[in-house]
């Protein structure tokens, strides 16, 4: 399963039922840098239903990154995502197709959830096992359960889509190992090809000394 990072620092987080999952902003037609909150409302027309690909100049994307060139309106960029809602247009460049699918999936779930009446409030991110191993309920409770985190969305994916599950203990190790690597070598070369790999990690450190 690909990790989905719906990231874009210039976007404001969406409040409400979505929690922190979806971030997007509004691009006014004149390219102003206003950002507004977005709510996905109404019915989801299914995959690719209400989404079109439409090149629109996007200047407010990021204050850090250089602004993208104006694309030729006659070309449709394959990784451009446009969301129409409530009279506004929301455009993202450079989103890989699988992320688009994820966003669609999340939107579907949000709509499904907004229809149901539930006791649970906003989505509470559950810490992954590596990040936080505190139990999710008090240590003196026996049968107490946390806020339900399930959405009975009928799941019609092909069974073969199931990725091989990872063992918790190994997953934690791999994340800790990565932390160690990042701490020791925060700014590695952009592409570490096989032939470029030095003989051992010691020489990596020689090239990138820790200040």
């Amino acid at each position: 399963m690909t990790m989905v990072k719906v990231e874009d620092e210039s976007r404001a987080p969406v409040k409400g039922d979505c929690g922190n999952i979806l971030r997007c902003a509004v691009v006014e037609g004149d390219g102003g840098e206003e950002h507004q909150r977005v709510e996905i409302a109404g019915s989801v027309a299914g995959e690719g239903g209400f989404l079109t690909e439409k090149p629109i100049h996007d200047e407010a994307r990021s204050t850090d990154a250089p602004s993208s060139d104006v694309p030729d309106p006659s070309t449709i960029l394959p990784n451009q995502l446009t969301i129409f809602f409530g009279g506004k247009i929301c455009v993202f460049d450079g989103i890989p197709p699988e992320k688009i699918q994820e966003i669609l999936g999340i939107a579907a779930a949000v709509v499904a959830k907004s229809i149901e009446t539930k006791n649970s409030t906003s989505l509470k991110p559950v810490a992954s096992p590596a990040l936080n191993r505190a139990p999710s309920f008090s240590s003196t409770s026996t049968g107490a359960s946390p806020a339900p985190q399930s959405f009975p969305v009928p799941f019609c994916r092909s069974a073969a889509d199931l990725p091989i599950a990872r063992r918790n203990s190994l997953q934690r190790f791999l994340e800790k190992r990565r932390d160690r690597l990042v701490n020791k070598n925060p700014y590695p070369a952009s592409d570490v090809k096989k032939t470029d790999v030095p003989k051992d990690t010691a020489s990596i450190k020689e090239e990138y000394p820790i200040a």
């Binding site: 399963m1 990072k5 929690g19 999936g105 505190a134 309920f137 985190q149 918790n168 190992r177 990596i204």
Partner: protein, 608 residues
């Protein structure tokens, strides 16, 4: 001397029933006991009163009071809760498996309990306190194995009340850490400790001085210590004091460019034969060379070694019997194993993760340049193992490629294999050959050849095993008790062929994942398998209601559904993403009726 008033003739040896009560304690095998208890009421009583240990494979299969009524003099108990899939983050954390009713029963009725082992269960501090106060100094063994829900306060209570504890294990448990008082308390008062294990926990408030004190006080008995990530340089005094230590796993090393020799002066206990040092790197590897020849068990799951490092280390361990590592060992490393480790009995090769994590592994990649099969285990390595390590009894491997020939070779040579598990990873870009699919014939050969096989797992890719291949598994697994089938078969027909006629008659526990069978087919197959008492399925043809599963409705058979979920998870970058978890079926025999402690995500399929 015969009693002249006896109404019935007596043999010179006395009543058979008297004899059996003396003989029964010597019958230790659980299956034998089971058979003996069915003979008549006297034999049942003899078994009940003298049964020493019970393992409950699923806590919901019976009730605590039934257990204590049947076996009032139990000394040792092992209870398992969550499905095995919980170790892979597939089961809701609050699914169930609460130890509370069991602990309460122990406190109330099981006054002889000395050893308690909870596996994949939910344990609270209160539970630990109740248990500790009930058993006090008589509790010798406590294993909280992959449990969650308790804190170091609970541990402190155990250590305070159970002063003669010999084994304290909490491996891979999720513990709320408040302080290190529990360890300090052990250091102050315990002199009988044999096994201390908090491996794979995130406990950090561990004082090396306390560890050293424990080693000193318990130096006669302490044989196995497995710890969390504590710098091993701080354990010098501990190692010095633990003169009888045979097993040490965990700790952490921190390669420091300033002082590359800092680990060289570390002295290990003289009898150390089982070892695993987390984050061990190539430079430090040599610290184990002096005693490599006596190493019988090696845990390389959490080390920072590349393929060639594995080769260098393993060839120095001719007495190696147990090896656990990741697939970075590669075919090359397995060939070294085959050449040098003739006594190898257990081999487990886990996988490195995909995507970004694979890059980490590659960054450690060896200097062989083009010939980079480091990090991949394929048929080449397995064939070498089959030829070289004939003593293998347990083999669990994640492979990047596999052929029929390799499976055939395993069947031909590894006649001692009791437990075989193969997972075929997703297509790796470095594997250029087309997969040798289907693996039907190879699987058949393996099953026919490994006659002692009791546990079998096969997790492939679509196309890896046809319906015919699945029927082979059914026909040629007469002794298999547990099976995991992943992405095998093609249609419901395959499952029918697997379960009908000559089917795995001894199959007690079946797990299936990612196989495209319908609920109806699954239920029908269950009805055909005579010994099946536990079923777990994920990734199947889910219907809206699950009604087709009623095909397997029968008395004492609980059917539960874990609903499809979208679980928001935070990854290490701080991003929130939703992970999809498809529905599960869990079905099992129970004398205790339906569960009454289900969380919202678990739905019991009740009788109509």
């Amino acid at each position: 001397m015969e009693d002249p008033d006896a109404k019935k003739p007596r043999s010179p040896l006395g009543n058979v029933d008297d004899v059996i009560s003396i003989v029964m304690p010597y019958v230790t095998d659980a299956k034998d006991r089971e058979s003996a208890s069915l003979v008549n009421r006297a034999w049942l009583r003899a078994d009940s009163e003298t049964r020493d240990h019970v393992t409950m494979a699923l806590c919901y299969a019976s009730s605590p009071d039934r257990l204590s009524r049947r076996f009032p003099n139990l000394r040792s108990i092992k209870i398992k809760g969550k499905p095995r899939a919980a170790m892979f983050n597939l089961i809701p954390e609050n699914w169930g498996g609460f130890v509370t009713p069991w602990v309460n029963e122990i406190a109330l009725s099981l006054g002889m309990i000395r050893s308690v082992h909870f596996r994949r269960m939910i344990v609270s501090d209160l539970d630990l306190d109740v248990l500790a106060r009930a058993r006090l100094d008589e509790l010798e063994v406590l294993k909280l194995d992959r449990c969650l829900g308790f804190s170091t306060d609970g541990l402190l209570s155990v250590v305070k009340h159970c002063r003669k504890i010999k084994t304290l294990l909490m491996e891979d448990s999720s513990i709320l850490e408040k302080n290190g008082d529990w360890l300090h308390e052990l250091a102050l008062h315990n002199t009988s400790l044999e096994v201390l294990n908090f491996y794979l926990t995130e406990l950090t408030k561990i004082s090396p001085r306390d560890l050293a004190a424990i080693a000193k006080n318990c130096h006669r008995s302490l044989v196995s210590v497995k710890i969390s990530d504590i710098e091993i340089l701080e354990l010098a005094r501990f190692f010095q004091a633990a003169v009888n230590l045979e097993e040490f796993l965990g700790g952490t090393l921190d390669e420091d460019h300033e002082t590359p020799e800092k680990y060289m002066k570390l002295k290990f206990p003289p009898k150390l034969s089982s070892l695993g040092l987390s984050y061990l790197g190539a430079n430090e590897m040599q610290i184990v060379f002096p005693f490599a020849a006596q190493i019988r068990k090696l845990d390389l799951l959490y080390v920072l070694l590349v393929t060639n490092d594995h080769c260098k280390l393993i060839q120095k361990c001719p007495n190696l019997e147990v090896l656990e590592t990741r697939n970075v060992i590669g075919d090359k490393g397995l060939e070294v194993c085959a050449k040098y480790c003739k006594k190898l009995k257990r081999l487990r090769i886990e996988r490195v993760a995909d995507g970004d994590e694979m890059d980490d592994e590659r960054r450690f990649a060896d200097e062989d340049g083009n010939e980079d099969l480091g990090g991949l285990v394929t048929q080449r390595g397995l064939k070498a193992l089959a030829h070289g390590c004939r003593e293998l009894e347990y083999m669990a491997v994640y492979v990047s490629d596999i052929t029929n020939e390799a499976l055939r070779t395993i069947g031909a040579y590894l006649k001692n294999l009791r437990d075989f598990r193969l997972v075929l990873l997703d297509q790796d870009e470095r594997i250029t050959e087309v997969a040798d699919f289907p693996l039907d014939k190879g699987v058949r050969s393996l099953l026919m050849g490994c006659e002692k096989l009791r546990r079998f797992a096969l997790y492939l890719r679509p196309g890896g095993l046809t319906n015919v291949g699945l029927s082979y598994i059914g026909k040629y697994s007469p002794n298999v008790r547990w099976m995991l089938l992943g992405k095998v078969g093609e249609t419901d027909e395959g499952l029918m062929e697997f379960s009908r006629g000559r089917c795995p008659k001894q199959l007690q526990k079946l797990e299936m994942r990612g196989c495209r069978f319908s609920e109806r087919a699954i239920a029908a197959a269950v009805m055909e398998l005579p010994s099946l008492r536990y079923l777990w399925v994920q990734g199947y043809g889910v219907s809206m209601t699950g009604e087709d599963l009623r095909v397997m409705s029968r008395p004492y058979w609980n059917i539960e559904l874990i609903q499809a979920r979208r679980v928001p998870e935070v990854n290490e970058m701080g991003d929130v993403r939703e992970v999809k978890h498809p529905a599960h079926i869990l079905a099992y025999y129970s004398l205790a009726g339906h569960r009454t402690d289900c969380p919202p995500t678990v739905r019991v399929l009740k009788e109509l």
